[in-house]
Symmetry: none
Subunit: 203 residues, 4 copies
């Protein structure tokens, strides 16, 4: 029984991992199910024992990996109390996660937002949670009087995420890495922290 579930999750895992590689290389629409099967070392039909269809592979891939990313990020922010420090850490952790798993990052950035299926019909709860980590930090900062009250967390969370995301895209898509992750994370969080601080806290 234990062995059974292990065997199953093994195939499931192998298929997801193969899909990450294949989708990252070709894009979702240019990837063939048979190519994923070959990369996962299973038969074509086996894919359909673990996933409903090709779309479902992408959705599951996203849900599972995004879930891990969420956990890692929450873990990375543990124990930090200062909102500004939290933003710095978020930026660094985000770019590090992207660097660690470039193929996955490429898929999340490029494929997931491609299809109306995934950004319109598909609710994408996990992504919202990820964004809301940022807005929560900002609200904490506002509650502590560190960040200005006129800042709209809904705008700032998107701006901050977008800034990091565009930087990531540059990393993911270009072969030459001109800027170090640490520096980029530092600069980007710096813009937003300085941009959001109250006069009082700047002293």
């Amino acid at each position: 029984m234990k062995a059974d579930s292990k065997k199953n999750s093994d195939k499931h895992r192998r298929i997801i991992e193969a899909a990450v590689k294949v989708f990252a290389k070709n894009g979702f629409f240019n990837s063939k199910v048979s190519e994923i099967a070959r990369a996962a070392n299973v038969a074509d039909g086996t894919i359909y024992l673990y996933f409903q269809n090709k779309d479902d592979i992408l959705i599951c891939l996203f849900e599972e990996e995004m879930s891990k990313v969420l956990n890692k990020m929450r873990h990375a922010l543990e124990g930090i109390t200062d909102p500004a420090r939290k933003l710095e850490r978020f930026a660094l952790a985000h770019l590090s996660l992207v660097e660690e798993a470039q193929e996955l990052a490429e898929i999340i950035q490029v494929e997931i937002r491609q299809s109306s299926k995934f950004m319109k019909e598909y609710s994408n709860q996990q992504f919202h949670e990820y964004l809301n980590i940022i807005s929560t930090i900002i609200k904490e900062g506002q509650a502590q009087g560190v960040f200005r009250q006129d800042i709209m967390p809904g705008v700032a969370k998107r701006a901050f995420f977008g800034a990091l995301d565009e930087m990531s895209r540059y990393w993911v898509l270009s072969s030459v890495k001109k800027y170090s992750i640490t520096m980029a994370a530092q600069q980007i969080s710096d813009f937003f922290i300085k941009g959001m601080l109250t006069q009082k806290s700047e002293d």
Copy 2:
């Protein structure tokens, strides 16, 4: 030749405009050439008199429309000398352009970056030029001593663009518009301006 291309430009235009609608509605891969033809009121085969293939429609669409966007942005920044004001204006103009042409914005955001064809092999000159408008402003600001010297324009341009872009995605993909364009543009440019100002200029 000139006359010829001008005479044909009607069909060419109609196809591009139809493609914008169709790609925005279904995404590039879920769009059929025949649907574009129908929307453009031409025969399927006619498409291939003006474009090499389906990919070429997307590339041409991007090049032509991006060229217009570039011109509009340059025009919008004309006559402004203060770098901070320029960034404010850039933000407002960018979000306004997105709002004006949501279908096009959706394609540029979602479809263009989908395919390795377009972001890896395809050099995407126009997009670089667009980004470089931002870095040029930042460099001007640094030259004038308004923006800090330690800011890396290559990072800042991406961060600033990414912030606006993620905000745009929210507008394009969600039906409810929670934040006004003016306010969002103001806040986002504000973050970056405040975040980049030298101590001296803050006084």
Copy 3:
């Protein structure tokens, strides 16, 4: 325009005729669309310009051919007034039609009634009309006092048709033709005529 519709109907016809051959040989479910295409000398995709899907080929085939059969039968009965002679003629015409178009007969007998799609969901209007030719003859016979009043036309039409149909199956499916069509038709109609006559008319 004329040429156009002629060209279309030509392909449509060729596909139907090819389908008759292929379905008769292999049965509907064992027939491949590509085999029909090859037999019709068109490309696989061409089939789908004229028919919605494989099922649709069978339905159209049935509707069109059954319509012809109906016309031929009505024509064969024209000018006959005596109900008994009409039944005789029906039997002969039915078996002759089967012999003329054995492949078609096999499909109608075997394939059409196979699928719940065709005998349950599909209303099968033409087949009812065909059966009702028989019940109409019987009712005429009853009105004229030739056939007994206690005969239920709804039962008799099915019995008469079933008798002919089972005889046809024998012809269609067996290679050796033991009985002549004329004799079989004569005997079968004879059973029913004798079986339905009133005492008076037997004198």
Copy 4:
């Protein structure tokens, strides 16, 4: 061996019974082996311990059930000597058997004759025996001088069976039962008896 096959006959039986239900509901080609397995409460693979393949299930089903039908019919005719009474009884017994086991009847009528496998290559001995019950009765009648000598038993058996069969199809496929079995059996056998009687015997 005997004990063995008796012990297994449970699973064998369950599979056949499940197949009757599943084939009747979906038709042979639209039925999945796994669905039969589920309905029989056995594993997919178990099916292949008792049957060679999917076709074999249908063949065995037919042979076994048809064998029972043959026995029942022979039993129903036991003790009747008068050929006319025998035909009456045959008709009633046939329609009663159909009503008792509608699912089975539907399969025999619709599925068995569908495939060239079963009506061409497959000799279908039992079905011939069933038909020959009828021709034997007719020959007895002819020997006794009750039925006319010019009647061809090979034609009449098919006509009689076909009449009953078409009536059965009506019952099996339509939800509303307009005619009672007794009346239909009475009328159909009546047609044939009256249609086959010698002049002498009619007095």
